[in-house]
């Protein structure tokens, strides 16, 4: 049962990441598409989303059949998702800080935080809260 939930979670996350990744790449290729979808025109950002999506999806067959080690794809997917979520927070946070210090905060909009790399990572926070500790407890501090 637990593996089935993980498989469903990995499928949903994988599909979302891959979908938004393709949209970001598409928005970069097709001018004007970015305005119609919630995805910036960013070919490399899109590539990163696709990679995370593929990592999640690569583990789904193994999770469904109970193959030992398949869980690794789910956890590395979570790890990458959280890492790039942090990249997105720091990127938008830096923009906010610069505006706060040297510009007019009224010009800054919270909508700037609505990037797929950030809101998709919130799903991984839930995944990490549910299963993260069981996996990462084996890793010591440097």
């Amino acid at each position: 049962m637990n593996n089935e939930i993980k498989a469903v979670f990995a499928t949903v996350m994988g599909a979302l990441y891959l979908g938004f990744g393709i949209l970001e790449i598409g928005s970069w290729i097709v001018p004007g598409l970015a305005a119609m979808v919630v995805a910036p025109a960013d070919i490399l950002g899109g590539f990163v989303l696709c990679v995370i999506g593929l990592v999640f999806l690569a583990g789904v067959p193994g999770l469904r059949s109970g193959t030992p080690g398949a869980i690794a794809f789910l956890f590395v997917g979570l790890l990458l998702s959280l890492a790039f979520g942090l990249v997105a927070i720091l990127t938008t946070g830096a923009g906010w800080l610069e505006t706060a210090l040297f510009g007019d905060l009224a010009e800054w909009s919270a909508a700037e935080m609505a990037v797929p790399m950030l809101f998709l990572a919130s799903g991984s926070v839930a995944g990490y809260a549910a299963w993260g500790r069981e996996f990462f407890r084996g890793i010591a501090r440097a």
Partner: protein, 664 residues
């Protein structure tokens, strides 16, 4: 009269071989060099049960291929030195890796004894190794030893004497499967045409070596009458593919034996193993590496932005304060020379420190070792060992320690190629140029442009390696074996310390060579007396205008030309020169404004300039270390000329392509 025998101690590096050698021979050792090479040869003697035993310590090797000098020495001694017994020292805590060499030694058909060394460490962690069963499976005597305490030495020497008295020995062959075995059989048949050759080398072993594309084995048959028949068979064989198939088969055999001889050696996968399964995967490994590098460059640009703005604000304040200094020449020296020059470089310290911090996190976590592993396949396919990737990664910080890091590469040609391509890897000193120009001329995707430049540096390095391998430095790369450290959660303190260790160098440079460079450029821009500062009539203007025709096809103006000339001292000086020549001292944003307002500069020229800075001649310190590490002015000059030619060519291609696209 006492019997005399010779034994050779073989084994992987770091298995306690030297300790065991000392435990066996005590003080009766002598050292020298192996014939024709500078590799140290250690031998010693011991008398045991009326037998005088001469012990030769062979260099540590992971396999018996001919990729490194050590492997050739070990192999030649076993074949030509004809020791009575070979003792393979095996690390009991790492059986799987060590048994690979066992499979190759067995194929030689030499009398073999396994010293299961560091057995105490294996036992302490709960491994239970059934030595009797292991000996039965491998058909080789297995003796428990703990070299550091001298345990098992008597038993080992007993086994050696017993084994030296038994004959004949047969080869313990691994079946390599339906596709490989018929080719081996054909080769053995062909080799038997030369009985002299087969009496010297076991024919099956030689056939396997030839099939794996072993250059040293090929040399052995060049004068043989079997040569033509062998070459005919090999002409239809992809050596790389067969080598991989045979290596896989050896590991299959080891994987089958291991669980039967050791009850706990095959452990559950750890978290590190599980992560490795994904990040070193054949299909996902490289995309994950590229994604992480993109994340690092994106943060390098964006997260540094507020800190850059803070430094810029301080710089503007100081520049205004400098206008009050008297006499006036001192005011321009401080304002235009120091604040404009050195300050232009200091602005980019946040970018450099953030990039180094992120690289430190990746390194401290253990990921960079995996990145080297993942890139090994690609590196090998272009003719470089995976080991070359580590100096390339170090090169992202600074090329000087990166070139020194090539000392770990044993093969001369591998090392030379790695040294020559390292200047193409973009060091931190080039980052300010990219941040400035990408931010100004590609404001939509500066992080992507910077990432692209770093990737371009890697691509040029790889293509150059391929070119060198095909022309001036031929050969085959040695295989890459490295221990993967377990993953660790990097702590902020450790990563900050690593960042500071590497990044503080840039602050020291700002107060040293960049300061001097900025003053020199200021003087050249301010004199002869009476000329307008930074004008074409100044010395800097004269130098720039004299050299500018060379760079005119690339669209670079004389200010950019001067900055490139002085950038040879240190790449940071490119920005310091531009800051000084554009006279930005009184206004921190003036350099950006001046560059944007310059009609000579557009997106295409900016891109060409960044590519030129990325690839053109290495800085003075890098040149000095290339000279020192290669021991050759010829290779140093080659590095300078080749790098500058590639930079010029690519910048020209960009300029021309931009003109064509812009014209359409």
């Amino acid at each position: 009269m006492a019997k005399k025998i010779t034994i050779a101690l073989a084994g992987n590096p770091n298995v306690g071989k030297s300790t065991l050698f000392t435990a066996i021979t005590g003080t009766r050792q002598h050292t020298g060099n192996w014939p024709g090479v500078t590799v140290e040869k250690k031998s010693g003697s011991v008398r045991h049960r009326d037998t005088d035993i001469e012990v030769v310590d062979l260099p540590g090797t992971y396999s018996l291929t001919a990729y490194s000098e050590d492997e050739v020495i070990a192999r030649d001694f076993i074949i030509d030195g004809k020791p009575d017994v070979v003792v393979q020292v095996v690390d009991a805590t790492s059986l799987e890796r060590n048994l690979y060499l066992t499979t190759q030694l067995s194929e030689l058909g030499v009398p073999l004894v396994i010293a299961l060394n560091m057995a105490d460490a294996a036992e302490q962690r709960g491994d239970i190794i059934d030595r009797k069963k292991m000996a039965e499976f491998l058909e080789i005597p297995v003796v428990r030893t703990v070299g550091s305490r001298g345990e098992g030495i008597g038993d080992l020497l007993d086994a050696v004497i017993r084994e030296s008295g038994t004959s004949p020995h047969h080869e313990h062959s691994i079946g390599y499967g339906d596709r490989v075995e018929p080719v081996i059989a054909d080769l053995v048949e062909a080799l038997r045409q030369d009985p002299g050759l087969t009496s010297r080398y076991p024919p099956r072993w030689l056939a396997v070596r030839l099939l794996e594309g072993d250059g040293d084995a090929e040399k052995k048959i060049t004068a043989s009458r079997a040569r033509d028949a062998v070459y005919t068979i090999l002409s239809g064989v992809d050596a790389g593919e067969y080598e991989a198939m045979m290596a896989d088969r050896r590991y299959e055999v080891i994987s089958a034996v291991l669980p039967q001889v050791c009850t706990t050696c095959v452990r559950e996968m750890t978290a590190s193993d599980l992560i490795d399964r994904v990040v070193t995967s054949r299909y996902l490994g490289i995309p994950i590496f590229l994604a992480l590098m993109w994340g690092a460059f994106e943060l390098t640009f964006t997260a540094a932005s507020p800190f850059m703005a803070m430094i810029e604000a301080v710089q503007a304040y100081l520049a205004v304060a400098a206008t009050g200094i008297r006499p006036e020449w001192l005011a321009t020296l401080v304002g235009d020379g120091l604040i404009g020059g050195v300050g232009s470089v200091l602005i980019f310290l946040p970018n450099i420190f953030i990039l180094l911090f992120l690289l430190a996190i990746l390194e401290d976590s253990g990921y960079l070792a995996r990145a080297a592993f993942v890139m090994d396949r690609l590196m090998y396919s272009i003719g470089l060992p995976g080991r070359s990737f580590i100096p390339m990664l170090v090169g992202f910080g600074c090329n000087v320690p990166a070139i020194m890091a090539t000392r770990t590469i044993e093969d001369r040609n591998d090392r030379l190629i790695t040294i020559l391509i390292n200047p193409f890897i973009s060091c931190g000193a080039r980052l300010p140029v990219f941040v400035l120009f990408a931010g100004l001329f590609f404001p939509e995707n500066p992080g992507t442009v910077i990432f692209g430049l770093y990737v371009l540096g890697i691509v040029v390095a790889i293509l150059s390696a391929k070119l060198f391998r095909a022309t001036v430095l031929p050969g085959k790369p040695s295989p890459f074996l490295m221990e993967m450290p377990p993953y660790r959660l990097p702590t902020a303190m450790t990563s900050v310390r690593h960042m500071w260790d590497r990044g503080s160098m840039y602050i020291r440079k700002a107060g040293g060579i960049i300061l001097i460079g900025a003053i020199v450029i200021w003087a050249l821009a301010a004199y002869p007396a009476g000329v307008e500062y930074g004008s074409a009539a100044s010395y800097a203007g004269m130098i720039g205008q004299a050299a500018q025709p060379l760079f005119a096809p690339l669209g670079f103006n004389w200010e950019m030309t001067v900055s490139l000339i002085f950038g040879f001292v240190a790449k940071e000086i490119v920005i310091a020169s531009l800051g000084t020549l554009y006279g930005v001292g009184e206004d921190a944003g003036a350099l950006e404004g001046a560059l944007l307002a310059d009609p000579a500069l557009g997106c295409v020229t900016a891109l060409a300039f960044m590519v030129f800075v990325l690839l053109y001649l290495p800085c003075l310190a890098t040149m000095a270390v290339i000279r020192k590490e290669t021991g050759s002015w010829k290779w140093t000059a080659f590095s300078v000329i080749f790098g500058t030619a590639v930079a010029y060519l690519l910048a020209l291609v960009i300029t021309k392509a931009g003109a064509v696209i812009g014209g359409v």
